[in-house]
């Protein structure tokens, strides 16, 4: 799969995640993958395809449809000295394991007065856009980011898909990795030496002086696309990839907003009580006097995700909406 002597190699987001898992399995014997259909089926999104053959059924462990059971087992295994990667098929199903994630993984270290840390990694697919309707299209990463005790990261790029897993596995505390399912087929190149990356810093993807667009995951790519359109009109948007929703690297976006004086948050989550709301609040708290326009948010329309394609697209943030909103904010909407 890799072609390391070329320096750069081309791959998909899915392959980047797979390579990250493979590398971790090779580097650390304590690492194992468990989840529904990760083995014989090859993973619901084919991320773990081929890994069963390579590592065997002990370490590529198919689980029954028992989200609470196997996520909890992941917690126990982590407490017992293993480094489990638990794959929950989609964030929607993680709700069946929400008790284990919120009431156990997130609180055990604190509740035990610092005695029991849970070095667990949970990967799950998130996001809408594939006509999977209301029960398979949620974007709850911001909702999980509400919970202290866990970390929530959202790789949007191939580098992060490739590099965040190992860093997450090195973390002594539970890390939830949200992979937007719409990104799995995204192709690109990474360097052959691509490896671990930090998981607690936001990144400025594109510099600009007129407005700061704060986004993450799939919405990041829409934001970048919008920024390119705006640039042709002379509006320079700075685009920030949050990368991690908890911890939230506020300094990066606060610095940017303080310089651009405008902020738009693009978030596939629902608006009410969203991570976008949190970011807006922090901007108000910290750089209010730098604002030249009200902080704006572009989030999903607050409906259960509809099936029909045109309805679904109307729910999700779109490039033209970002463009129009930014034009309005910088006073360039004629």
């Amino acid at each position: 799969m890799t072609n390391s002597d070329k320096g750069l190699h081309k791959l998909t987001y899915r392959e980047a995640v797979r390579e990250a898992i493979r590398e971790a399995m090779h580097k650390d014997e304590r690492v194992f993958l468990m989840g529904e259909d990760v083995g014989r089926y090859g993973g619901c999104f084919a991320v773990s395809k081929g890994l069963l053959e390579e590592f065997g059924s002990e370490r590529i462990r198919d689980t029954p449809l028992s989200e609470s059971g196997f996520v909890g087992a992941g917690i126990g295994a982590a407490l017992g000295g293993m480094r489990p990667i638990v794959e929950v098929m989609t964030v929607n199903f993680s709700l069946l394991a929400a008790d284990q994630i919120l009431n156990t993984a997130a609180v055990y270290l604190y509740m035990s007065g610092g005695q029991f840390n849970v070095p667990l990694v949970i990967r799950m697919a998130t996001g809408g856009g594939r006509q999977l309707a209301a029960q398979h299209s949620r974007s709850l990463e911001g909702w999980y980011a509400h919970i202290p005790g866990i970390k929530v990261v959202c790789p949007a790029t191939l580098e992060d898909a490739r590099g965040m897993l190992w860093t997450a596995l090195q973390d002594p505390d539970p890390v939830l990795i949200f992979e937007n399912a719409g990104l799995y087929n995204m192709e690109g190149t990474v360097t052959a030496t691509a490896g671990p990356v930090d998981i607690d810093r936001a990144r400025v993807c594109r510099a600009g002086k007129d407005i700061t667009i704060i986004s993450y995951s799939a919405s990041l790519h829409k934001s970048i696309e919008a920024a390119a359109i705006l640039a042709k009109e002379g509006i320079e948007a700075e685009v920030i990839d949050l990368r991690s929703l908890r911890p939230l690297d506020e300094q990066t976006f606060l610095n940017s907003v303080a310089a651009s004086h405008r902020a738009l948050i693009v978030d596939e989550g629902c608006r009410s009580g969203s991570i976008a709301a949190e970011i807006a609040a922090r901007i108000m708290e910290n750089v209010f006097y730098e604002l030249d326009a009200p902080v704006a948010r572009l989030c999903s329309v607050e409906v259960p995700m509809p099936y029909a394609g045109h309805l679904e697209q109307a729910v999700l943030p779109q490039v033209d909406q970002i463009v129009n909103l930014v034009r309005k904010m910088v006073g360039a909407d004629g």
Binding site: G69, G72, A77
Partner: protein, 335 residues
């Protein structure tokens, strides 16, 4: 798949030292719980307080079957388990006081006692929440080829939770060394078993998962100890799970603020007549294994231990407010 009725077998003879040890253990629990109730009334202890009076034989008997390497996962009614597992009474009481020297540094309270050295994975206050963790601890042992048992206590109420069934299935499916100990005290808070379970014979549920099971009279410490040791041996030998039901009864209310509308005084009195401490003490005296002097000495020792524990808890400082946010995340990278 085998099933035993160990509780019905004739109690084996025990030597005097062991008998005094069992008695001492049960009395420690009982007197601690009585002290907790008193301290709660004096507002030294707050929050929810679930006392274990009447069920002492279960914790004492089962924990006799474990080694120091084994892991224990318990529930929110875990003072007795924590104490017998080796957490100091002072650290337990200090925790209930919310003090810095508490075994969870004042962050857990009565329902969340923890101890890393004792591999005591806590008071887990989500009913059924500890079962998947026990499965995972056993999975880690298995994957690392360690011959250890994870002992998971839970009540009859947990049997209705999905996590019970998921965990039984996973442990059986993956052949994991978990000793599932169901402390069946007949009531899930205020709901009698017959109102929550279509099949009240809980041990039979294990059969559907292909898990070996046994039920024992949880009011008889020797019976519990013997059956638990047998069960633990099965787990240790086979590497597979075991479902161990201890039929017992709590003498006090579910928690401190419980008017007990769901059961009759007569029923409570009837069970109190089967008090595991009084029954065992009487039996041992009858056999001449322990004497009144022994019991008196135990009571004195325990009284002194409690006095010291209370003094320790009283003297312990409050956790500094500056440390409020410590331990949300680890302070060091994992090895």
């Amino acid at each position: 798949m085998h099933r035993k009725e160990s509780g019905k077998t004739k109690t084996d003879m025990v030597d005097s030292v062991h008998a005094r040890h069992l008695l001492h253990s049960m009395i420690r629990i009982r007197r601690l719980e009585e002290k907790c109730a008193e301290l709660y009334s004096a507002m030294k202890i707050r929050g929810f307080l679930h006392l274990y009076d009447g069920e002492e034989a279960v914790a004492v008997g089962v924990l006799e079957a474990l080694t120091g390497d084994d892991a224990v996962v318990a529930t929110y009614r875990e003072h007795g388990h924590a104490l017998i597992r080796g957490i100091g009474m002072g650290a337990i009481l200090a925790e209930m006081y919310g003090k810095q020297d508490g075994c969870s540094r004042g962050r857990g309270g009565s329902m969340h006692l923890f101890d890393g050295k004792a591999r005591f994975y806590g008071g887990n206050a989500i009913v059924g929440g500890g079962l998947p963790m026990a499965v995972g601890l056993a999975l880690a042992d298995k994957m690392q080829q360690r011959s250890r048992v994870t002992c998971c206590f839970f009540g009859d109420g947990a049997v209705a939770e999905g996590e019970f069934h998921e965990s039984m299935n996973l442990a059986a499916l993956w052949h994991l060394p978990v000793l599932f100990v169901c402390e069946n005290n007949l009531y899930a808070m205020g709901t009698a078993l017959k109102y929550s379970q279509a099949v009240v014979d809980l041990a039979t549920k294990a059969a559907s998962y292909g898990v070996a099971a046994a039920a024992v009279d949880g009011m008889d410490v020797l019976a519990v100890e013997k059956a638990a040791k047998e069960a633990a041996e099965v787990v240790r030998g086979s590497g597979k799970p075991f479902f161990f039901e201890c039929r017992t009864y709590r003498f006090r209310a579910h928690s401190m603020y419980d008017p007990e509308l769901y059961r009759s005084k007569a029923e409570v009195e009837e069970w109190k007549g089967r008090c595991p401490i009084a029954t065992f003490a009487g039996k041992m005296k009858d056999q001449g294994t322990v004497g009144d002097g022994d019991i008196e000495k135990i009571e004195q020792d325990v009284a002194r231990e409690i006095d010291e524990a209370v003094a320790f808890a009283e003297a312990s400082p409050w956790e500094s407010l500056e440390d409020l946010t410590r331990f949300v995340y680890s302070e060091r990278r994992a090895p």
